[in-house]
């Protein structure tokens, strides 16, 4: 990004915040529209600088989120590879998967509560169920569209199947797999919040509902900002990993025009 572009972005951002501040002050109903400074101050003292908030809310939320997402990644990549490599398996599973995928995950909450209680396992399972689909489908597509000449090259040199899978098929599907992982992260955050709002006694989502139920408007705003920061941080972390792993892909696509 150019320095000028960065400057433009920052000034737009500051402009938005200033507009919020002015509008909230003019509206003069701090109960509903607290000024930005109030919300940011609450975010700072009640969340970011409060160790108890980290231990009691943020850590459990992140734990559930990452457990569900990582489980979805393992299952999605494994099943996606199997389906992508084997047309027959795909034929058998396609309609069943289409149905399962179409279930909006929140409606599964009551079922998962019956099966797994209201603990962390239930939340991780719900997150995993929702997050697995983009990973699985992207992996299957990526694995199914390996460059034919890559396959021929591997066969001509008698590269064993296992090596082909690890060194050729999965690396060449990696850009698609990462696209799936990114989509899944967005879904995982949403489901974490829902699960914590409906059935839990701790976590950021729980605190959000508590704030709403007791009409603590500043806390509602501050918690929403926190969730935005968490989402941003998780995306940034994933993008960092992706840049490292897929460095070759950016280079290769930049040169091929």
């Amino acid at each position: 990004m150019t320095a000028r572009g960065l400057g433009l972005r920052l000034s737009v951002l500051l402009g938005l915040i200033a507009a919020w501040q002015v509008a909230a002050t003019l509206a003069a109903s701090p109960a509903l529209w607290p000024p930005f400074t109030t919300v940011a101050g609450r975010l700072w003292e009640a969340w970011i600088t409060d160790p108890a908030a980290w231990v009691e809310s943020i850590a459990p939320s992140l734990g559930r989120l990452l457990a569900g997402w990582a489980g979805a990644a393992v299952v999605g990549i494994a099943a996606g590879t199997l389906i992508g490599l084997n047309r027959t398996v795909r034929d058998y599973l396609d309609p069943a998967m289409a149905f399962l995928r179409a279930i909006p995950p929140p409606v599964l909450l009551p079922l998962f509560i019956v099966l797994l209680g209201i603990g962390d396992a239930m939340k991780a399972a719900l997150i995993g169920f929702g997050a697995v689909w983009p990973i699985l489908l992207n992996t299957a597509d990526g694995v199914g569209s390996v460059e034919p000449l890559h396959r021929d090259t591997a066969r001509a040199f008698r590269v064993p199947r296992w090596t082909v899978l690890w060194r050729i098929v999965l690396p060449s599907a990696a850009p698609r797999i990462f696209a799936g992982l990114r989509l899944a992260m967005g879904i995982a955050v949403i489901l974490m919040v829902i699960a914590e709002m409906v059935a839990t006694l701790d976590g950021v989502g729980f605190e959000l509902v508590q704030a709403q139920r007791s009409f603590r408007m500043v806390d509602v705003w501050a918690t929403i900002l926190l969730l935005g920061l968490m989402g941003y941080g998780l995306n940034a972390a994933l993008a960092l990993v992706e840049r490292r792993v897929l460095g070759w892909h950016r280079g290769a696509t930049a040169t091929a025009t």
């Binding site: 001509a156 008698r158 280079g251």
Partner: protein, 270 residues
């Protein structure tokens, strides 16, 4: 410099034989187009054989049959007299499309090393082979770069390094220099000859370029319009080592080139 004959190259029986090879696309019984009608060919150990033919004559299909990437619908491929099923050991392929046969996520050294992983070599020897092969093709300095950071000619050198590090007895090359510019092509041709001499390997080289076939090979096999048959085999008795300027200017080169060209354009009895 006086041209010198390679006196030390003994032709010891045929290493590779194609026996009435035929290939039909799609189901073997249908009326699908016949790509290769009947090709018989013997390639002696240590020789450099070029296959030329009009475009679409099934040259690449023929090479894929030899490589075991396709299964012939008639006839057989023999190595050392034994029929081959599947991809034979001791064989390496250099494809035309270097941009898509090299793996972009691996470095150049990684690409060369990948086929060596399953040969059960000690790690030190594997690394040595990779180093030697890259040195031989002039890519010693590019080992840690990625294929897409190299020019087309350098990418094809990397593909050749991968083939020679594998130490195949038979090296198949499928129009390997068709996608590079003329100067690079000349350099790569000389490099291919140097590699062939150094490793005493046997090369089967497919090309649509008549000059290239005559310049490189001991023997040029001319294929017909599809479905492919062998129209003629032209022995190339040009002295070696060959030289891009001297050899190409010699009267015998010009005569052989004309001979091959005539057989491609007027195959019916010439």
């Amino acid at each position: 410099m006086a041209p010198r004959r390679d006196g030390d190259r003994h032709v010891t029986g045929s290493l590779l034989e194609l026996e009435h090879l035929g290939y039909r696309y799609g189901p073997a019984t249908g009326t699908a187009p016949l790509a290769i009608e009947d090709v018989s060919l013997t390639v002696p150990a240590g020789s450099f054989v070029a296959i030329v033919g009009p475009s679409g004559s099934g040259k690449s299909t023929l090479l894929r049959l030899v490589a075991g990437l396709l299964t012939p619908t008639a006839g057989a491929v023999r190595i050392d007299g034994a029929p081959v099923h599947g991809v034979p050991a001791d064989l390496a392929v250099v494809f035309q499309d270097y941009g898509r046969s090299l793996f972009p996520w691996l470095t150049v050294a990684g690409n060369v090393a990948l086929p060596l992983r399953h040969l059960g070599l000690p790690a030190a020897e594997r690394e040595q082979r990779v180093r030697d092969a890259l040195g031989e093709v002039g890519l010693a300095g590019a080992a840690e770069r990625h294929p897409w950071q190299l020019s087309g000619g350098m990418q094809q050198r990397a593909a050749i390094a991968r083939a020679i590090a594998y130490r195949p007895r038979i090296l198949l090359m499928d129009e390997p220099f068709a996608s590079v510019d003329a100067q690079t092509r000349a350099d790569l041709q000389d490099m291919a000859l140097a590699v062939w001499r150094a490793h005493r390997s046997t090369v089967l080289f497919v090309t649509h370029d008549i000059d290239e076939s005559v310049y490189l090979a001991d023997r040029v096999v001319v294929l017909s319009q599809p479905p492919a048959r062998v129209v003629a085999e032209v022995a190339v008795d040009l002295p070696r080592p060959r030289d891009q300027i001297e050899t190409r200017a010699s009267a015998s080169f010009v005569g052989l080139r004309a001979d091959v060209a005539r057989r491609i354009h007027r195959p019916a009895g010439g």
